[in-house]
Assembly symmetry: C2
Homo-oligomer: 257 residues x 2
């Protein structure tokens, strides 16, 4: 039987271009998620060799993985793989689109009732997009189903002026991240979501075909450019029966005295 601490060789793609840290992190994450390391990462030296990067880059990449909870550094030099986190279903804070989340939850995703229209920003939307009320805003609304049943209704809103080209209904990407990348002048760097429990009202009864009073998780998501400006605001209503989000949180134990 193979020793659980022996790692397979050549599982990591060498890194070619900048930014090296991010690529090293991605290469390591992908190897962890595929189970290549089983219980612990190879030594720093071995990682430098496999990835073809400096020790400094390897340390930065491992620090990223620690922040993401995928590995834990032990006293001494071992870096242990955390399978609970690397196999977490439905992580709300990992920047994954709803289509993929529904699929990860073990359901067959599909979309329905997709509509693209233009509105003038209400006071509420204007605040989320940081524009003047009345500014032209595009709204893409759609229903995500799980195994054919309504699971998530959402409205993605963005300034019409951010569009590089008119979105085509028959080839809308399923993830707002991919949509922004393909159609808007700026991609999405990060998201801040507010979590609001609610009882299904007339609006969601219509959109999700649910009995009034059914508990729903309402998310107000603001998607920002990497450093600052809002790109897209999403109003989302989620049926708990099909999609229940998890959040990974890390206790900050940085030990400053």
């Amino acid at each position: 039987m193979p020793n659980a601490f022996v790692t397979k060789k050549t599982v990591l793609e060498p890194i070619g271009v900048i930014p090296r840290e991010a690529q090293a992190t991605a290469s390591l994450r992908s190897a962890i998620e595929s189970g290549a390391f089983e219980t612990q990462l190879p030594s720093e030296n071995e990682l430098c060799q496999q990835l073809g990067v400096s020790r400094s880059t390897v340390r930065a990449a491992v620090q990223s993985l620690i922040e993401q909870g995928l590995v834990t550094k032990q006293r001494g030099s071992r870096t242990l793989v955390n399978m609970r986190v690397s196999q977490l279903k439905l992580p709300l804070n990992a920047g994954i689109g709803f289509w993929d989340l529904i699929s990860q939850a073990g359901h067959q995703p599909s979309t329905k009732n997709e509509v693209v229209l233009e509105r003038e920003a209400s006071a509420d939307i204007a605040e989320n997009l940081e524009c003047e009320p009345g500014t032209p805003v595009k709204v893409i609304s759609r229903l995500f189903c799980a195994d054919g049943e309504p699971a998530i209704y959402l409205e993605d809103m963005f300034l019409s002026s951010l569009l590089k080209k008119a979105p085509k209904l028959d080839s809308l990407p399923t993830s707002i991240y991919d949509f922004a990348e393909a159609n808007l002048v700026s991609p999405i760097g990060y998201t801040i979501a507010e979590l609001i429990p609610m009882a299904s009202n007339a609006f969601t009864v219509e959109k999700l075909s649910l009995p009034a009073g059914t508990p729903l998780l309402h998310l107000i998501e603001r998607h920002f450019q990497a450093n600052d400006h809002p790109v897209v605001a999403s109003y989302v209503w989620v049926v708990d029966e099909y999609v229940r989000f998890s959040v990974y949180g890390r206790k900050r134990r940085e030990g400053v005295t």
Copy 2:
């Protein structure tokens, strides 16, 4: 008027002991949150000097801050501070106790009805704590109030065998992280929370003095040791009026081809 890009000197405490990356990260975060850098971090060289650590440690620390969304690396060498994220209220994924979260939301926190008792683990609790059903489990239940009004009811559960000493009701730490550190054989390394919308039922009507049917956010939190074993399971019911959580999520754009 001072140039926004000029940073104050000596805002960072030099780092003394291992693990250097984590301490450098903490020192930088604390300086960012206090507004010391305004819009961007000092250069790597300057950070090495102020923190008294190697370039490799500085790079690892900055990579941590990038993962946490506190800074963004621009093409070239600038590392910009993201004030939206560093001043985010009520982050669910930052490992902060409910007392501090209520306070951050602008309310005066207090606790009531604290009870410590012992139970035998139900099938449900046994699954969360990874023990046999019937194993002795300690339960600490309490009500957190915001400005004197019921805001969060919670039950923290852990194996009685994990206790180093009997907890004293009159000096219970307000955060489960502090409690575990002081009273249990192992501190909490990270948390995975499930987010469940619900309508107030007979149980929560009694515990939170709320009308039946009021929407609540129910969290099932599992707190783990740094690398693996469950330490504490918490069942939490949150009133949206006082405490509305946010989650920061980062789009993974690691650019691997």
